[in-house]
Subunit: 259 residues, 4 copies
């Protein structure tokens, strides 16, 4: 049985033994900037998967993988223990955000509950900030849930422009900041400026750069460009097929109305 | 954890010590007339915030403020203790109405529960009544949940025209009247006639005038025009950006369908 | 507090003391045929209101009445005790069907629970069957939840044409038959053939005729035509205003997205 | 009272006494391939109905049958005891998939619970794979929830092409594989390649052929073509009428907004 929000711990937080980890979120979103950076971190750091999250708020489907096996839509949390120079990390990556409005809130409640169980002391959410035109020199703009954290981000060169992003921050990247504020956890959102038209590894690179500095991490950015190309290819392919599948499913809806 | 309708008391109703207060609602709506008046009252009276209401029925996003910090969508109740010449007041203001049909009912249940806990003896909801063309001399039309209150409103010059508003009163301003009737609480809705095309301080002024008379309040209307201009500016700005953000978010939806 | 489906008994079913009553449903629907007939019955028989049903599945609004007072959307059950020549009756009339798919099921559950509490032994649902063109000589087609009841209806001249209505029966009139079948209660739907383009008193008249014969009731049909004219007028008026109200409300939605 | 997902056992699983049955799903979907095959199996094997599933996630309507009686939308599970040469079977057929996203998950939870109560050791879901053009020689492509099952399917000539179906498998056929994987039950989906434009008996035949081989079943395919023709005819007829009914219902929606 799959619960509405079904959080499955692969390891007990105590056994993982992270010390005051920083929780990083990189789910799909604008330009896939956040997802690119977070997936990259999980891979480069060889972080360990510790939680799987299934949900009725994800699309009602399975994905078919190259080898013919299927898998459920899932979001995952990975743990990484630092050697001491950096913070320990919890990294949330995955397939989907909620496909309903209310689901966003229930999923974010679950993410924050996970963060707390691992003793997280801070949350960084990663995303893109689309400006609707090509960006020559991408940079990172920020938002945070306290004035102190705003100042801290500024000291790392992150830009704050009054009234940006004016439309607010939609989805998990935004709600995580808002709800964690109510819970007394510091949180910030790092947004790579991007056109918003495609997967943007250049924007992801500047986000990764500043995040690494903030975390005192050393992470190669080599694979990032390649990962983006691959992602772009897969997306194009899948979008085409998905459209076909959904269209057929829809055009078939009338047919379902009979016996 | 954020509950579906999450009511947080900043102060115990008993400690606030209002006596038979009047509950005033001014949430966003047609012409923003109700919101203008209620925000204005909160400011002019320097009322004290006593309740915050968060909800899964608000949009799944946070707003970014001028200083780079974020805040959750929230509705708030302010308390004001009169010096004796007027009634004590509870004023409900905020960012949003429910974005789902069913959410309207759950939020209104919560508003009425708050009103009751503070011992409110009457409810006034404020709104605009859009007529689709410019209004030279705005006036106030009313609706109430008992014949007695209708007569009382008439005695203050509030207009009642048979069959208006014909479409009923949609959202919190309407449901508060209906549900409070079932709870045995007197309630009325004051609607400033407005074009419905923009934030309308002239309409807000006539609503404020009659409300002040009814409450025996003295409130300056000076700042109202200015407040409306500011609101209009912010709305224009935010609408533009919001559209961009939502479009990107939507156009990005397909991208979310993969890993 | 208003529950999702809020059933309020004005009188205890035992005190009403109906004997094996027949439950009749006439909610708004195609051509308003069912509503016309059921409203007419309630008026002509001077039936007594015994239950009110409020619901989150009705539209989030109140209606403003001629005298300036408001009322919640509500469905109602009326009881009528026969003098012995006819069956006792329970008549369900009201403002709305559910505005969500799932709400239909929850409301029908409530209606059947009410029917059972009053000891109803049979259910008749009333509706229109729209054929998309003007009908010179309207007649009544039927559907029932058992073969026995089908035969009984035929004996009263109700028509059964194989495969009609082909699209099934949507909403409360249909679901009441289906769910009561699972509960072991006989039920039938009487549909007056109608164009479907307007409130149709001629169609209502033939439904009322056959229903009266089946119930051995004597009910004047005089007022029916008049009632329909009035209904048509009110609908036209309200539709116009409702459209205006809803449009403004919608066009105002962006405005709600700010503070 | 009808529960959200209302599973009604006509017989106790123990009394049915199936031994490690295989659970087969054939609900409406692309080209109605899965439904055709599963309905055919139920008929040819004269399987016995053991479970009925009603749900708020099906459309809020009843279907009217040729004889004038109505029936609720329902999905059904049939049981078949083999004579020993083949596996025992549980076959899920029915009218509808969920009409809401979240309903898919709740229904699939129920299907898997049923499978487990009957001791099912494996699940096969049947469907169509639409390619948007006519298919001369239909064949079967597969997906499974473990590498072992993939290999097994290959040994029966079922095709696996990397990245197909690229859009994933939507609805019960997909989710059953995903959720059963989490429950430790082997499962596979057999998809007959089809245009997706109509009920496709040729595609159903190749699915039935390979399924029979896998199950060591002997089932005549004679009736399949005829069944498809009949289905096609009924669908055309019903679609036409359904459209009329739904249009009238919708065009009548404004009318419902008044009393």
């Amino acid at each position: 049985m799959l619960k509405k929000v079904d959080v499955r711990y692969l390891k007990d937080p105590e056994d993982v033994g992270l010390e005051n980890p920083i929780f990083i979120e990189g789910l799909p979103g604008i330009g896939h900037v956040g997802k690119l950076v977070a997936d990259h971190l999980v891979n480069e750091l060889r972080a360990e998967k510790v939680v799987e999250i299934y949900s009725h708020y994800f699309p009602p489907q399975v994905m078919v993988q190259e080898d013919g096996t299927v898998r459920m839509p899932v979001n995952e949390v990975y743990a990484w223990k630092s050697n001491g120079d950096s913070s320990d990390l919890l990294i949330l990556v995955g397939d989907f955000q909620s496909i309903s409005n209310e689901g966003h809130f229930e999923l974010v409640n679950a993410y924050i509950d996970i963060a707390k169980r691992f003793g997280a002391r801070r949350i960084y959410t990663l995303g893109g900030y689309g400006i609707g035109k090509l960006v020559e020199e991408p940079y990172v703009i920020g938002a945070a849930n306290s004035q102190d954290v705003v100042e801290e981000l500024k000291s790392f060169g992150i830009k704050f422009e009054p009234g940006e992003p004016g439309g607010g921050i939609i989805g998990a990247s935004g709600l995580l900041l808002g709800v964690s504020k109510l819970e007394g956890i510091d949180a910030a959102c790092l947004m790579g400026v991007t056109s918003g038209y495609m997967v943007d590894p250049k924007s992801a690179k500047v986000v990764l750069d500043v995040l690494s500095k903030m975390l005192n991490l050393e992470v190669s950015v080599e694979a990032l460009e390649e990962r983006a190309k691959e992602m772009e290819k897969i997306i194009a392919q899948i979008k085409e097929m998905q459209e076909m599948a959904v269209q057929q499913w829809k055009s078939d809806e009338d047919l379902r109305y009979f016996r």
